[in-house]
């Protein structure tokens, strides 16, 4: 029971490539520093490489009674090259070893996330490019407020994802510290040279304090924070896809591959993928809350509690990767319905603000312009017709500043064209955003 309760190899086995990579670098340094002989180092390195080959080929599987990935690999090494394998343990403990493995693993995953996020952004830009002239209602409080361009709405997510990408780069910098050399907690009297190991493994910094090195899991929590914000963004986009593909909104046709049907209602397309993306946000939040709870009030230095960082981290990584992958594929495949979007934007007086700006440009104070337009909308509402169907005479009765040219402001297209401010929903600004995001994607991440 205890063995089963404490073993971790059932989940930490995915660290094996990093464990071997780290051990090779450690052994080479031990050899160079004369802590073990060069011949011993050579034997150990060769043994480790063979083990890697065997695992990759499916010839070596982990054993639960050996507890964790580290002991499994060490046992395999001793089995192959004899007692000299034990020397790999010199000036190292599992405490700093696992901290290293986890950093190497996460560094790799972050590269994967970079590619996935770029892919997602590209899919989004593709749709935005296609719909850079498609008007739709812009919402506040989920009520139609003013016309915007579909591209503008989509690009709002573009900027969110770009922030995720920027934060991802910061994560990489923060991860870039070698914890090896801390040994159990206090360092060692042996003449090790962690900088050599760091260089071989591509770390630019070495941990400054051995106790911190073995007990620090900030990088795990930082990742989970990042992941939670990204998952939150995805949940917002997923929610909108669910809404837009309802019969009520009807803005969107989900591609068949990304929806499930009903044997009985062929017209029904359930947005299962979007729903699951939305739901899996919960897993990522849960992992973050778990990691923070686990670390709360934990004294220094290494405590076995830290083992629990892995199931939480791995679950969040896997969940988020899958969501990004499927969203990156689904986004460019979405079929929007420009005519429904336009129609929705034409209804409901959402160019009232434009009418007010028209009056303001002609000198009416804003609060008064609002009042006049409110009366115009009310009039149109009662007559059951759109704003632009009010006659000039009717408008002039409300305010003499109205002229014929006001009608040029009252279509959704005109409304967005009239926008001038930076970041607004005008076609020019949307084009600028597209260029800016494309350029951003070309940067080195």
């Amino acid at each position: 029971v205890v063995e089963q309760f404490t073993e971790s190899v059932s989940f930490d086995w995915r660290l094996w490539p990093y464990d071997i990579q780290g051990s090779i670098a450690h052994a080479r340094m031990l050899g160079r520093q004369g802590i073990i002989t060069r011949e011993e180092a050579r034997k150990i390195i060769q043994g480790l490489k063979e083990i890697a080959r065997d695992i990759r080929a499916g010839r070596l599987a982990p054993r639960a009674e050996l507890e964790d990935v580290h002991m499994n690999i060490e046992a395999a090494l001793v089995e192959r090259i004899g007692p000299v394998g034990g020397k790999l343990h010199t000036a190292r403990s599992r405490n700093d070893q696992v901290a290293l493995d986890l950093r190497l693993y996460l560094r790799d995953e972050l590269e994967g996330f970079t590619a996935l996020l770029k892919g997602l952004l590209q899919g989004l830009l593709q749709q935005a490019q296609m719909h850079r002239h498609t008007p739709m209602p812009g919402y506040t409080h989920l009520q139609r407020a003013q016309p915007v361009l579909l591209a503008h709405h989509l690009l709002a997510y573009g900027w969110m994802f770009l922030r995720d990408l920027e934060r991802l780069r910061l994560l990489k910098e923060r991860l870039d510290v070698l914890p090896l050399g801390a040994c159990a907690l206090a360092g060692t009297s042996l003449p090790i040279e962690p900088r050599q190991v760091a260089q071989e493994l591509g770390f630019s910094r070495v941990s400054e304090n051995s106790m911190d090195a073995v007990s620090d899991r900030d990088f795990v929590v930082e990742f989970l924070c990042w992941a939670s914000i990204l998952a939150m963004h995805l949940s917002r986009l997923a929610e909108e896809l669910v809404l837009w593909s309802t019969q009520e909104f009807g803005f969107l046709e989900l591609p068949d591959a990304f929806a499930t049907g009903s044997s009985i209602m062929p017209q029904k397309k359930n947005p299962d993928v979007a729903e699951l993306v939305r739901a899996r946000t919960a897993r990522v939040y849960g992992a973050l809350m778990g990691a923070l709870t686990m670390l709360k009030a934990l004294p220094l230095s290494y405590n076995r509690d830290l083992q629990e960082d892995k199931p939480l981290l791995f679950d969040a990584v896997d969940t988020l990767k899958a969501s990004l992958q499927v969203m990156a594929q689904m986004l460019p495949a979405l079929k929007f319905r420009p005519e429904r979007l336009l129609q929705a934007a034409q209804e409901d007086y959402s160019t009232a603000t434009d009418m007010a700006e028209y009056l303001a440009e002609r000198g009416l104070p804003f609060r008064e312009a609002h009042k006049v337009v409110g009366q115009a909308v009310l009039k149109a509402l009662r007559a059951g017709k759109p704003l632009q169907a009010l006659t000039l005479k009717e408008l002039k009765a409300l305010c003499p500043l109205f002229e014929q040219d006001v009608y040029q402001r009252l279509s959704p297209q005109a409304s967005v064209r009239a926008k001038r401010s930076r970041g607004s929903s005008s076609p020019q600004e949307v084009a600028r955003q597209l260029r800016a995001l494309r350029q951003a994607l070309r940067r080195k991440w």
Copy 2:
């Protein structure tokens, strides 16, 4: 009931200085751009400045029926300067206004946190400096493992807090975007110039997408993530202070000002401050979880839900500020008991690792050295004496490599002095850490 349910001025009133600051910059820009006359702008700005003075002097208090800080200030303005006050509303909505206020507010708080964190670190360095030669047991699993220096243990927190400081700088960069100009959600057709506003308010970037500008609360979540990690660090330190001030550990005497006594047991000192710091971590975690929940699956753009970011944010800010303040004052006032720390480090064979390294330096493979030392410890244990009380004859019986000089390795002081590796608990490395952290504190944050 509804008014009371939806009002926010009971908590957002603390934003008033930022609301006025933002409005002044907005009015000046409107004037410069000719959207309102320069005279109108002047009047508005003067009115706002008077309002600020009156609030500061306690002559103007918020009214709940005016819902929020923005309406309160606008109403006060119109009351003072007449209908022209309404023109301040031109090309702005509460949606972008509150996003601005919140960024200005948080920017100020981040400066405060910078100072608080530096103060905390200084207090810590003071203690570490004082105890750079005080040995104590180093713990893993809360079991004594190897001797370390108290300074080394304290400095582990130093590096944690330095990371918090570094992350804080990143937060400031991420906050540095002006959302004003987004209006309700879609920008405006008026010739506003957000860059002018940004420059006046000290922002280096302007939001790229108006819908994102009004619905983005990443910066709130990022802050709460940062706050949660820092609170977690504080909870770990607080836990150790609680442990160390128990009768059992006895490592620490809490200064009277930071402990509560008992009328009946004058010797009893309850570590209330440390306990509350530990407990308040919970509030910060709760705020983070709340903010993530609030944002989950929220469609674009502004939704009233976003109002709830403020109670969560303010509570976390206040809680964390108070904890940092009190910890920064308590840390340098702590009275450690070097003799108890040393005594603890002398008991319990925690220099066994040093004995093993001694044998390894003389050529014994590490795993074998472990075995020999294990036998030595067992022998000492059974005889009820410390490791260094075994005779050389007894030791040689276990392994002929032992010589007289082994005894120089078996005191806690010798153990830490023998450490050589970077980041280890040797006096040199501790001195280096102290220098490095002091230097880091002198950087511009």
Copy 3:
């Protein structure tokens, strides 16, 4: 700084009526047991009653330097009746006193919640009663699936809230334990009689273990769990109100009092109340997570950390009470649009399932019936007409089992009328649910 950091009277002052109530009962018992004289007890009780009157009349306000509600009241007592006031402290400590206060407070709040929940349910039943024959689309995956009655949809929430009411009753039972008599942690050698106190205060059980009595906060977490589930229910209902009041759904007109308008778009009604109800779920979840975090790994018995239960608890209580109040008032005031609901239910082939059941009743295996109906829907879809517009000939071409009477199954009204199973959306079952819930409300809660 420390005083300000550790004081709790700024938030625990709301406990004063319970603190006095508990103290009166304690004093009376001390007097009866002869631990203090009857005369001393009388003086203390009278002093406490006067203090209560003075606080109620605004003549006594708490002072922060007296730390908490208990010390404030004790100080006021001694001020009034002299040193004999100190005897109230006999056989009691703040540890068991605060546990009692909190239970008394929460017991009162639970009564309030009972009334609020019943009010909410009544409002819901009122709407359901009104719409017990209004068909609407029933949704799965937010896609129209089958017609249901609006009353049925609303009553689904009725059963959720009834479960909340049932769980509330369980909460009360669990709260019903007197912790007084535990003193600091170990009980006392004085001949106290907690059962007397329990009886006076209306508790049916007395704590069985003094250490548990002062360190147990299960009842706080249980409440927060209950509150989180209820808040989740409210967030689901609020989400639907937001959806239904969109222009796209158009199922609902929000009463003006529960929506905010726009000066410029008189037709726009923002569902602010529903949005805030939805958002405030986050606060309740955050409080739960906070309380769990605070208690994690806390050793026995009383720790100062426990003080933090109050801000979390009070915030959740206040938030949830406000949400329930406003929802209970808003629900009966909602104006549904039966014609829009019906129209939505008529579109989109949502009676396809009824057609399949029709065939199944005539002996076709279910999977095959599905296939046939799928073809029928496809045919109608392509012809751009509703299902019921297919001719009998067209239908018979797909399956000879179709007869004229199939058309009686294809309207939303017919669809719901045909339902027979318990808990289904038929008018009879809806009527039964209404009766059952009304009856449930009449029970003693």
Copy 4:
């Protein structure tokens, strides 16, 4: 990618016994009601039983392309008995089917938890029985406060676990509702009889509302709330085991089987099991937060999001079961050190309260008694001797009420013996608690 993203059989396969159990009951009812023929029902039931046998024997494994446990079993059925297998789908959808499976599964697990909790309690009672006369320091703020009996301290956990057991019983009642018959969301026109199914499956109630039946996951959240409170209790106990097994406390020797050693420090015993129990609390909290997040603002009725309840639930179930198992085995195996506990209780003046009660019994007001005893402690402290070493003359100098018999109150043993109040730490009360808990365990849970 989509198939892999949406499949659930990789985790919901554990539901297969419940899926088959539910299907058998459903088929039998369909047959009895004449919805399918009795012969068809017989075939289906036999087919399902064979499938169960094959799965149990390892002859049938799930296929990911069949998405979930339901489709896997239905496909296997059709493969075996032909198209008639499809009739099992009559008057049922996966929406109500999965709700049923989950309730059946959880019902079984709750029985398992009942047994585990009882086992845990028994282990605890065994230790308490053994140490019903072992004094130890009782702590507040982790500072020694007053002597208690070790049994009393352990039994505080006993009452916590008994509350968990009581809440568990409530969970079972709340789970006891059959959701089958809701079909997709609206019920059915077929003459099904859910009460028959309920009876066969051992449910005493049938869902009252079909939309609630398919979208309700209260029972999952209720379970996770329960699990979180229990995990919190376990984390508190685990924390104390970690503390008590430090060299500093030294109250406890961990049995070898429940600790990990160090090859080099044979005296070192790491409390890994306790640490992992403490840490895994985080997983359970995370699952609760995940489930609440997932359900936040989810409209009715079934949404694919609900699929995510399972990974969260299963992870919490597995985690908590393992923790309970290992704790139930470890508790009775713990070796406490009565002499260390006693010694700790004798130091540090923790009988000062008894001395004050002594004076109070002789008529001194409590606050004054406190003052006198405070002076006595101070005197002893300064003289570096225990309280009982003060001479009667010294004591009388502080207060003439002291007599020779005071010394009988100043040992830890006397202190606990003198306690009289219900729930106090006296041997009688501890004996009463032991009896009460043993009796409680004999109840039917």
